[in-house]
Amino acid sequence: MERKSINQHLQDKLDGACLSDEQLSTLKSLQKIEQHNQSASTKTGVRKLFTLPASSIYLNGMVACVVFFLSFILFAQPTDLAEDISHEVISNHILLKPLEVKSSDMGTIKKHLVELQFNPIVSKVFNEMHGRLLGGRYCSIKRALAVQLRYDTGNGKSSTLYETSYHPKKFSFLPNVDKGEEPLEHQLQGLRVRLWIEKGLVLASVTE
């Protein structure tokens, strides 16, 4: 048998390990998505305000700006937060990270994703019309642990459903379908995003 140096063996071993064109384009698109998310998230923050010059010349202007921005934030936050969540789930949808559990059975998915601190539900809003369940993986929505459920809708398209625990401070602005309210809907980056509360959970769906 041929003898080679360890370096050559490692080179041979890794020669076969290459990113596919699809994976490569996913990674390249990451930067654009992240930059978009960053610009969206700064809309709700007041951090930029503190980067203004602190000299006395600007003091009066700053006070006026603070008052203006605080009032703006108070009124504008829910809309921007909904947009932030939408961008976050779209980012998760586009990235198509590997599924932690591949199964069309919700029970099997629940059994594997043991770290979730809630019981994933079969949504009446996002029903089986959205295709065949492919599996699930952990993800996060506004830093809260969430589950992504992926559906194959045919023709090479997929849709994703996200579920996470309901935190009143973060998500109280979302419509509750159990109270007869309609899900909040956005069209962003060519995708349809819906957000709502159902059975005490926060749900978001992305469809192509």
Binding site: N7, Q8, L10, A17, Q31
Partner: protein, 168 residues
Amino acid sequence: MLTDVDYQNLFKYGVTLTGNEDDAFELLQQSIENFIRNQKSTVDKKHILKPAAYIRRSIKNLFIDKMRHDQKFHHIDYDECELEPILITEDQSIEEILITKQEFQSCWSMMDVDERELLYLFAIEGYTVQEIADDLGVKKGTLLSKIHRLKARLRTQLELFNEDRKAI
């Protein structure tokens, strides 16, 4: 920011650590996300000047975190190599050890994360010992003693492997 070759090499680095392409891709994605997120906020601009090195470090840290979470990781710090004084020469090349594919697989399976990373930097990135020491932020002497010990362990492993084969 990164060239196609950088992406491919970082992926190979992930495969070197994890041994699994799916895991490697996931680690690479997370690391690029971390890099982009920290690009503007980080104080240490040195890392940002070398995005590939920054992302590689992130891949390793995420991998170690995952191993710790799965309780599969036992880390031996580079500094521990300096506890026993040994005679180290500049010529600590691993290239001189010629082995078969089967022997390589046997040796590979017993290597820890740091050793795999070391071989990756030699074989794929083509770094010198000094460049690896700079990249990892360790002293050159520390690295040389690490390589010396790795070679000794490889020789022992090869002897054991060949003895087992003879016994069969």
